[in-house]
Symmetry: C2
Subunit: 496 residues, 2 copies
């Protein structure tokens, strides 16, 4: 950018002294090098989320090259009281990594912190930079014959730092837990620009408060996660996948209990999809097809079940036949299709992964990411269906999600009599209906996507006042100047 | 107690106005009933830890009957600025539930909060009062055909609230994690006497800061855990136990890797004991005996390995033979004794559980509860052995512990030329040697027992200053008057 252009842009911005903007950028360049302070049009990709729903403005985009540089940048921002929005792969769904319109903040991109720092096979741990993509981490584990089980659709782009900041979920939570459960240690830069060296690789450490789990899931509002020590697992010797046709959500719950008891920890995924959305997938994305002929293909629900066996193909097959055979005999399952090879298994997963694309097809829908106790899933769906039918009789609903975790993606689609704009305008009203029901059943309004700015102002309706006060006390104690990702997670009234 | 006696006792205590003591006790009686405010000699059992190492004085011992009463007591204490030491089963090892000598504080015993509140089988969760003993919780799970896997020596006496306050470990951590990993939700009374209703039974909930894991392991210094929602697991269909004779700690590590890979999540325990201490067990506690004849019985190390199989006896047996057979062929194991029935299995576990008693026999020893990365265990033991041999040539060392978690109980015993008093006097010096080595190897000075008052003043030596500052910021934010278990966990200089 021409110096004059920059100065004139700064002068146009009455919210901040023009010369300070120039000085901050110069100071940032002195820390990370001129190439790694991005301004002007080059900064645009960092200022909007990948779905284009949130846009903001920044003083600069900074890309430090290591933890020390992150700390130095943070010290500078602390000195200038400049807010910092940390960004990983920018794949979030709640606007948690997008700035506000003020232009006061900087984007701190961790994309250059992308080294696998250490692997300890005997300890089954991996130490990584926060900016490594999730697939880089998975691959590093695979290269030493181990499994890093976190897995989700954005894994080629999202970073492990972002996964930790949002406590990401995905398809293997049933067996291995969320990102939090896969982490032993963290390295964090504090709002003052200090480095907390907490990269411990210990399964047991009871020496004080659990800072690790406080930073995990705090969406960049308490500090900057720059590195992590992650757990590795043995790779399964064999995997089996099945699609099961089910006549009700109640039977899906019963089948889940049956599978958990029969397979134990070998059950690594249990996904459920409404039949209607699978028919949309098949219609929209040929040559995909359901692995069922005749009436089974018309079932109202389908489950995708994955077994990860430590022994081998023969044992996996025998296990599958025993447990699923019993489920069929007990009438829990209408029909079962067992993948006979990796290609078929991938085809089953492809059906599941195509669901979000299919339900996006008729235009904007109103999406939910709720969780409820597994025992309340069927009640949640029938209560939400009934309440919406009463208010919006032409709109239709779709259920799919991680049933094994109680996590339901419940989407409400446009009626034939509605325009897209009308659907968007109803979002708040539909949210209130669906979230109220989830809340009444002991559920959560954000199972795995986080709060960001998207659901921030809904928190006071669902979060106990004492809990919000505790959160605010912690935020104020650790970040008294509200420099870390301001306007995220904590409701505005609570964000000082 | 005669009213005059109480008044005269209060007048003797120059540190507080006599009448206020009387008033506080009266006010407490009005909340919990006269029978549940204990003073005088009846209070003595609450004022000393079970090993008799820590003694304190209290204004009163209060036993509220439910969460509301806990909150009302806490509001009263907040008003009077009276410190509160929460007590469960009083089985801690670090003086975390024992008061100081000032007599300022009250003991808040949760023993009357002992109800199993709810069981949700489909959701695999259990909601319990904090004062339930661990064995009560285990039994409630067993009664509905489920497993609550936390298991430790004090389980008949310790309470789940204490387990959570200290993030207890035990023998099943390798597979199921610490107390923290087994918990989904908490109910907590804050220092102001508010109740945080956080008893969520959700596997996924990303709606704000992880307060649950902050309270877990904070040893009563941030609030009072009054209830918890716990995870249940399927009960294994069969279990197998083996004792294995090993020629080195290195081979124990290799065997652990082999067993993790071969058994996967069915490996539920992997304990290691030095041969010398098992010989002590056999000598001191007849008719216990080692399950080995000849040279195998003289091995320097033994492992106790447990397999929990979801399929049944035949599969467990086949698995055991395959995986342990391969270990013997590879020379990892000198000899193996497989329990043929439950009685033999219990006998093997009894050997393990007798180790602490045996090593207490020659008089007071200096005990450690360290963890290091599993890859560093052998180096830790040889370095600590060498350093101690150089300083204290007549003292001997014993290794046993939860090898699968990297958790080593490393105990240093009296030399023939030393008195018990001399050993006790050396504690600080020996601690420094052993803890410095664990720390250098990336380890922890308290793997599972916590900090309490026992290891509090060691923290500044081993804890990063930034981490201590973050802990202090949180403590000050949540408990600005330092009412919750003062003098515990945070080093004195840091405790305001």
């Amino acid at each position: 950018m021409h110096p004059f252009a920059r100065a004139s842009q700064a002068l146009q911005d009455v919210r901040q002294p023009g010369f300070e903007t120039v000085n901050l950028q110069d100071e940032l360049r002195a820390i990370v090098g001129a190439n790694n302070v991005i301004a002007g049009a080059d900064a645009d990709p960092y200022l909007v989320d990948w779905r284009g729903r949130y846009k903001g403005r920044a003083q600069a985009v900074v890309r430090p090259g290591n933890t020390e540089e992150v700390a130095t940048v943070m010290r500078l921002c602390h000195q200038h009281k400049t807010p910092v929005v940390t960004q990983g792969g920018n794949t979030g769904l709640c606007g948690g990594a997008t700035l506000d319109e003020s232009g006061d903040a900087i984007v701190l991109s961790l994309s250059r912190l992308n080294t696998i720092r250490a692997i300890d096979i005997d300890n089954d741990t991996l130490v990584v930079d926060a900016g490594c993509t999730l697939s880089t981490v998975q691959e590093a584990a695979r290269n030493v014959g181990r499994l890093f089980p976190l897995s989700l659709a954005a894994e080629g782009t999202c970073t492990i730092g972002g996964n930790l900041a949002t406590n990401a979920g995905g398809t293997q939570v049933l067996r291995y837990g969320n990102a939090r459960d896969l982490t032993l240690g963290l390295e964090v830069v504090t709002p003052e620009g200090d480095i907390w060296h907490g990269l411990r690789g210990l399964r047991k450490d009871n020496t004080g408060y659990d800072l690790r789990d406080l930073f995990i899931g705090s969406e960049g509002t308490l500090g900057i996660i720059t590195g992590a020590t992650l757990k590795l697992y043995p790779r399964p010797a064999a995997q089996r996948t099945a699609m099961l046709a089910l006549d009700s959500l109640d039977n899906a719950i019963r089948l889940l209990a049956h599978a958990k008891s029969g397979f134990g920890p070998s059950l690594t995924a249990f996904e459920v999809m409404a039949g209607s959305v699978l028919h949309d997938v098949v219609r929209l994305f040929p040559p995909q097809r359901l692995p069922f002929e005749g009436p089974s293909g018309e079932a109202p629900y389908f489950a995708l079940l994955e077994l990860s066996d430590m022994e081998g193909e023969a044992h996996a097959q025998a296990q599958f036949e025993t447990v699923l055979g019993a489920a069929m005999e007990d009438g829990l399952v209408l029909d079962a299709a067992i993948a006979e090879n990796l290609t078929q298994s991938k085809a089953f997963w492809h059906l599941r992964e195509s669901v979000p694309l299919a339900e996006a097809n008729p235009g904007k829908s109103i999406k939910h990411d709720v969780s409820v106790p597994i025992s309340a899933i069927a009640e949640f769906v029938s209560a939400a269906d009934a309440a919406l039918k009463a208010c919006f009789p032409t709109m239709s609903t779709i259920v799919f999600g991680h049933l094994g975790d109680g996590n339901v993606h419940y989407n409400v689609s446009r009626g034939a009599d509605q325009t897209e704009e009308q659907v968007v305008a109803l979002t708040k009203e539909v949210y209130a209906i669906v979230h109220d029901i989830a809340h009444r059943l002991g559920g959560s309004i954000s199972a795995e996507h986080g709060i960001g700015q998207h659901k921030r102002d809904e928190l006071p309706r669902y979060k106990h006042a004492v809990e919000l006060r505790l959160m605010r006390q912690i935020k104020t104690a650790l970040d008294p100047h509200n420099l870390m990702n301001p306007g995220k997670v904590l409701p505005q009234a609570d964000a000082r």
